[in-house]
Symmetry: C2
């Protein structure tokens, strides 16, 4: 397996799950002080993760929660973000220009800001009310925040049961997904590493990740053209350009929007001979109850996507760390 | 000018503006009875218009307002949609499957539904609390609803002044935009009618229209591949695949997010030799005050896009009414 360090994966996931104590201390305090709504603020990849967090919460919650693009907030603002708002961000570098500007503005408004900032002491870390520093696992961090908020609001009564299963089994499950999907990832990469354009279809708590995988991985890191589309929207315009050889990949997860992706997966073979269906149901998750599989579908897909990336990177002899323009030029 | 009927355009816009009396009677009643939030529910093109309505309101409003994709509502629901919610929809046929299903569910919840349904007596028309029937001008109808809500909430005090200018001048202004942009539309069509893929960049109250123009016009009606991207997101991944010959069009409007599109328009020529900037500032709007030009930028772009479409349709000898799959096959 290329680029796969089993012990690192296990440690990374288990470490992230252990953040829950720290997260809950902060969320419990915010909850007891009262908040009116929850804004997930991001840009690029973190904007995508924010979309996932909102959909994740919508399944159960009546809490007002929304995505806020950082750059849009910088110019248009959002009057729903007040001193009673909980704003949540995530950043690897802690320096993303648009987010720094947005959080400065949010601080003037007086919102509470919880930041998952991987670099301690960075500009963003200094601007947050509460900072948690731990690398990777952005989506899990966001879900743990949302889950605690819902738990405290009485909307996720079996929270403890769910996280007991996660803590005990999930890191190992995820490693097994990576191992099982490795040969698929290699075959997929061999087939699609030179596509003129590749279409990715996703729904529900996988939509944000679909948007992000297309844009932040294939476009940004592999320099391959893509288009991502919400499964529900596929039938309202986009599918007219799909013909026999159009490469289309559909993510079929197990959350409430599974039916939307399944609809695409069922119809696609009628009009396209170059499709791929990636279904989380094909992957065992030992110790995770059936009813929770939908919540964790994005993590399963993430492992599969990582396998694809490892092989595309090598076949194309294009190291994923290089950028043509991002932070290379002024703009 | 191909496919342009000046009198039809004038009548269509003036007739739409005259709907304001009918709209306000309904909105004033809903407002006096009280509502908690406003959901713009749509699918495909109407989902895109809903995005525009929300951004339009965000500029001024603290009313809770959001976009709801119809198909997603059908499976995931949304607990923020209650019997105190005003739900707004629009439909040409009145039969869009996902929206019919969603509105049936919304009716069980007990929300108030205002529908702009072009076909009287259609299934959707029968499901709405209030129905307005008038063809075309979807975006204007939505903006008139949002503007009245904001006016009643004290957030748009110069509402009367704005609509006085609109009623007196806008139909003629829009016809002038069409005439002035016709030769541009023809040249653009000649250059891009056979592009492998075309990129469209938009922001603010033009983002929804950018998404829709790419998907519901180029993909659905011209069978040309596209990708649409929010201007703010352009720098976070997508631009890595832009090189000398990549066709990219940027819409630069005059609303609060102008700076985001301008940033793309300024940088793009450094990395791309096949770009087009469409800027509403190049178009005079007689009788419309400077401060209102941002509100109406989408209508200016819409006329320009129509000019492009008229010529692409002819050059490609591809009538825009034909569909490969949409409502042709079961799915």
């Amino acid at each position: 397996m290329r680029k796969f360090d089993e012990q690192h994966e296990l440690d990374s996931m288990n470490g992230a799950l252990k953040l829950r104590g720290e997260i809950n201390k902060i969320i419990d305090k915010i909850n007891s002080e009262g908040y009116s709504n929850v804004a997930w603020l991001g840009q690029g990849g973190t904007y995508a993760s924010a979309m996932q967090a909102v959909i994740h919460m919508k399944e159960k919650s009546s809490i007002e929660t929304f995505v806020q693009n950082a750059a849009e907030y910088d110019v248009t603002g959002n009057k729903r973000i007040t001193d009673k708002t909980l704003v949540i961000i995530s950043s690897v570098s802690g320096t993303t220009e648009e987010v720094v500007k947005a959080i400065k503005k949010v601080n003037e408004v007086g919102s509470t800001v919880l930041g998952f900032i991987d670099k301690a002491g960075s500009p963003l870390a200094k601007l947050c009310t509460h900072v948690i520093t731990y690398p990777e696992n952005e989506q899990l961090k966001f879900f743990m925040v949302g889950d605690r908020l819902m738990n405290l609001a009485g909307e996720f009564p079996d929270y403890d049961e769910f996280y007991k299963e996660m803590d005990e089994h999930f890191a190992e499950d995820i490693v097994e997904v990576a191992k099982k999907s490795d040969s698929f990832g290699k075959e997929f990469a061999e087939k699609h590493h030179d596509d003129d354009i590749h279409y990715f279809v996703g729904a529900g708590n996988q939509w944000g990740a679909t948007y992000s995988y297309a844009m932040c991985y294939w476009e940004e890191q592999h320099w391959l053209k893509t288009k991502s589309i919400e499964a529900a929207e596929f039938f309202h315009g986009m599918f007219e350009i799909v013909t026999r050889d159009t490469p289309v990949t559909v993510y079929v997860g197990e959350d409430s929007q599974r039916a939307l992706s399944e609809r695409v997966a069922k119809f696609l073979p009628e009009i396209c001979g170059n499709y791929t269906i990636i279904d989380t149901k094909d992957y065992e998750l030992k110790g995770i109850s059936e009813k929770y599989r939908g919540e964790v579908s994005p993590f399963v897909f993430h492992q599969i996507n990582n396998r694809i990336d490892a092989y595309i990177e090598h076949i194309n002899r294009h190291p994923m760390d290089i950028r043509r323009y991002y932070r290379q030029l002024p703009y």
